[in-house]
Structure formats: structure tokens, C-alpha cells
Amino acid sequence: MTPFTTLTAPAIPLRLANVDTDQLLPGRFLRKPRSDGYDNYLFHDIRRGRDGTLRADFPLNDPCYADAPILVADRNFGGGSSREGAVYALVDRGIRAVIAPSFGDIFYSNATKNGLLPIRLPIDIVERIWAIAEADPSAPLTIDLAAQTVRLANAEPVRFEIDAFQRACLLEGRDDIDLTLAHADAISSFETSDRASRRWRAPSA
């Protein structure tokens, strides 16, 4: 996966709470192979009006934000299903970071495994970013993952929290299976001792 270190770029304001994974990627596109690219399915249904045409009032349809790689939304972003396709759709559209007051747990974890940085920030800061991005769609935000900060325009940097392990994986763009296999002996000895002490756990048909 692509490492995430720093990013200075404009943001897309999305004033919506509970943007669930069915809105990010409707279920009927889950059967598409990843090699096709998922960007066309991102927000497929909510980007369109009832007649199927793209809605002018949806920020991701606004040409001003066409190249902005940061999405800023309200609470509970990515709640719902475990579909990693919701993350693929964002990544394939070129989104590198999502800022919101809270995230669905599974979405958050899926994001970190695909080079997409989820950033939890309090709602008052999210509101400031919305206001800036709406006033000037080219206004850049600077995200520094190593320092765990987001800086808006000329303001002081704001710190965000992220788990140290997830941060390291993102910074290095590393696959955690390799890391786990370094613990192969510990896994094997656990397997052996657990089998001996709790025999009933093996499925017995």
C-alpha cells in the first residue's frame, strides 16, 4: 500500500452525519472486481437525483473539488457494513485522508490497511475546516502523520490521536501479515497449548 507521510492539499466539505458504507458504496457494486477501479461507484446513489443525473449541490460533483484528496464529514463516518470496497471507492477516487468527529470501527481499520488516513477531530474544528473549504475550495490543509497534526490555513496545528501501530503501518505502507509471521513461533505454541487445555474447542462433526 502507498505510505502516508505528509499531505498539503485542499479539502472537500461534506456536511453529513452517518455517512454509512451503503452510501459510500451501494451493495450492488460489491461484486465488481477491484481491477475495474471503484471510483465510479463512490457515493453512486446519493450523488444523483431521482432522475439519475448528477446533483449540482453534492460537493463531490463540484468541479472546484475535483482534485481535492481530503474529505471532511460529520460524525459516524463509515458506520455500518464491513465492506472494504467503501475504502477502495474513496482511494480509487484519489482520497488520501478523511476527517470526521467519529468513524465506524471497521471502516477505520479498513482505511488504515489501504493507505487511507482517518482523522478524528472535534466537531468545532471540523466546522472551521468546512467554513474554510467552502469559502475557498483551493485553501490547503496540511496533514503531518508523523507529528499527528492537521494545520488549517495560517492557524496553529491541531493534534489528532491515532494508534501507534496503525500510524507506523501507514507511515511505512507495510503489510501486517509479514509482521505477524515474525511471531510464527508464538502462534504455533499458543495453538499447541490451547489445543491441549481446551480440546472441545475444535469443531467436532
Binding site: G27, I106, N110, P203, A205
Partner: protein
Amino acid sequence: MDQSRRSGVETPLRCGYCPTMITPTTLFEKIWRQHRIVERDDGQTLLWIDRHLCHEGSFHAFDKLARSGRPVRRPDLTFAFADHYVPTRDRSAGARDPEIATMIRLLGENTARHGVRLFGLGDPDQGIVHVVAPELGLTQPGLTLVCGDSHTSTHGAFGALAFGIGASEVSHVLATQSLWQKRPRTLRVTVDGRLGPHVSAKDLILAVIARIGADGAAGHVVEYAGEAIRALPMEARMTVCNMTIEAGGRAGLIAPDDTTFDWLHGRRYAPKGADWDAAVADWRGLVSDTGASFDREVRLDGASIAPTVTWGTSPENAVPVTDRVPDPEAEGDPGRRATLAAAVDYMGLIPGMPITDITVDRVFIGSCTNARIEDLRIAAGVLKGRRATVPTMVVPGSSAVKRQAETEGLDRVFIDAGAEWLESGCSMCAATNGDMVAPGQRCASTTNRNFRGRQGPGARTHLMSPAMAAAAAVTGRITDVRLLGETA
């Protein structure tokens, strides 16, 4: 930096003040400690996974595994189910849509390649993964169980630590039979008293979600306790744990008890003979000790819960059936006002209208939330001798549930009421198999998500219990099932 502690053997937690006293421990903590392979200083823990369940959607993870050239470490602990894409009508020709047929075929190929047991389209035990795994006795107290599906929380009803994971994590579990997790926080939801007549587990969990919000349990494992929970049969406990994810919870848990053991005894993959006795002796210890502390506590009075339905586009938009659609103008916060207004608009409702004035175009009784035998008995109880006035589909949660229902004659009740009696699968819950609610149509549904477009583009979903969905089928509008006797 890592590997500060290893554990295969548990050491009891001792109290810091009085070393002879054992610190009271939560059920979650007990299961977590039993599965800890490596714990790192940064708080990440490598957990052993006892059961891994797959479905058609696991193809991304199998692809990833294939690209890395790794084998499945424990195919004997991995079980696969065809559910999300299976046709619910005429199965003789398989799925008609070529893309959907490919999903079912890929699951067959991937499981065959790795020697994983598949409960496929033609299998007598086919059905929704979260219905079939418990039925077969694969779900047991004290296990860690994962699946690439958020409603894996269902299995917590047995006192198993069960949670949904994404495709990257699925491939990690396939390759290593383990998973890195950060210790979640704990929330105990205690429901005192008894539920009223016609009030079910679905109403209970919708009331909980309305209280704490769709992200109210984010980062938490939720243990359900109290008299109302203890009184629930296993099917109802599964409904409660199933929808824990709709409150944002990582997992739901209910301490196993005799209800659990009686339900599990004799099932195909459950322990047998002396192993069964040893297992039950161990399982009886899987309770939160008196005095164990939780990061948060929430209490509800079971007797005050009414039949509950959702009006909006998030499960937190749940209200008693006796209530009204909220008026966004009455909301002071501008952000919340806009969110409410957008939901009212999408749902095509009038602010302030009574919930029971909402007419429905169709009814769906199905899904891993509410399509077990108990649910079908309740729905049939309401429909018996009555007619559905709107198109109604009944989709059993598993092929075994379907057979059982037919043995009991429930299929006749549904068919005589004019409902469709179909083959088991996810069907209209997420519309992945092509069973969809038409744009703008309104569906009374026993499923778990009322998200925009969940049941098809432009579909409007009202979540409710099987009894309430059956009542809506009879009257064609949202109806308080407690009053149906008088109005019918």
C-alpha cells in the same frame, strides 16, 4: 519493542491491595485473556481466532491471499456459506445474472482450492452465515469468531467474542488464524424487568440504539445483562447482539447460561460426550464477576419499551409506534436539523404525522436479524387467518429453518395469507442478490439497516419486529400489533 507478554495459560488477575483477592473480571476480559498470543507495548494484541466464517464477499480476501502465494493456515477452522448472492426463487438454474453467478462460483472455487468446508447453494444446510453457524453448533461460548461481515456480532449471543472484519483482515486470518486488535472498551447495557406482550428483542435493541445513538457504542464491546435479557430465548438474544453494530459496537455479548447450553446440546459441531461436560463446566465460568467494572453503563426498564419502528435513514431514528415523525424545525442545532430534514425528505414523510399513518408498499420478513424459526412462528401467529394487503415476502434465514417451518405448517399460514414463501438467503436485506425494493417504494422490514438505498436505489425502509411487520402486511400501514385484534 513488542512481545512484552505471551500467554497461552491464564494467570488470574489479583487485586493490587489485597493479593489473595482475585479482581472481579468482565466476561469480555476473560475471553480476551484466553486468546492473547502476543501483547505489544503499544497496546496491540495478537488474538487467536477459533472460528472464521466466510461468504461470497470474501473473494477480495482470497484474491489477496492468492497474490501473496500463502495457504490457508487452518482450513479446518474456516467455514463458508453462500448467502448474500443466492437466488430466493427458482434455484434450479442457479443465479441468472452472470455477475451474481460468478460470486457464487468464486466462493466454490476458493473454498475447494483451500480445503474449506462450504455450505453452498445446493447444500441442505445452506443459509445466512449468522443463522447457520449457530444452528450447526459452530458458534460456542468462549470462542473468538470473526467473519468479513459486520453482523458477526450476532454470535455474541452465545458468549463468544465475535466481530466483523474487512477484507484485509480476512486475508490476515486466512493466512495466520490470528488478528491484531486493540483492546476495546466495555459497555454494559442492563435491561431490567420484563418485556410487555408483543414486545420483542427487536424492539428492545431499537430502543437501546435510539437511546445511545448509531455511534453510541463505537469502540466498545457491549455486554447485555438484566432480567429482560436472561428471559430471552437464544433466537431473541441473537437479534439483540446482531444489531449491536447498529449502535456502532464492536461486539455484543450475553453470558451463556442453561438456555444457551440446552440450545447447543446435540448440534452437529458442538462438543460430544466427555468433551461436552468439560466444555459446560468451563462455560459456566464465562460470566462477568460481581463487582467487575465496565467503562460505561446504561440501564433501561424493559417494561417501558413499546413496539418500536424507525422512521428515518439511521437505526437511531427509532421511536415507539405510538409516537410521531419528528419535526426538524423543532431541533435547535443547525447540523442536526439539516440531517433530520434530509431524512424526512428522503423518506417522503410529513413532519409531525403519526407513525401509524405511514402506509407501506411491501413487507419483507427475513435477514440474519429476524428470520429464525422463533421469528417465523411469531409472524405466522399474527398472519394466521388474515390476509396480507400488500406484497409480502417471507425468506427463512436458513434452509433448516425453512424445513422446520414447513414441518410446523407455517408455510401454509404465509401462503394462505397471500405472502410469498421463498428460499433462504440474505435476499432483500441488502439487495445484493437482485431482490430489491423499487425506487420510492416503502418497505416494512425485519432487517437491521434503514440506510438510504440499502434495499435498492431510492428504497425507503422502516425497521421493525416480525410481529409488527406482519401487522403492517395485514393493514398496509405501520400498525401497533398490540391493537391489531381490535382493528382487524
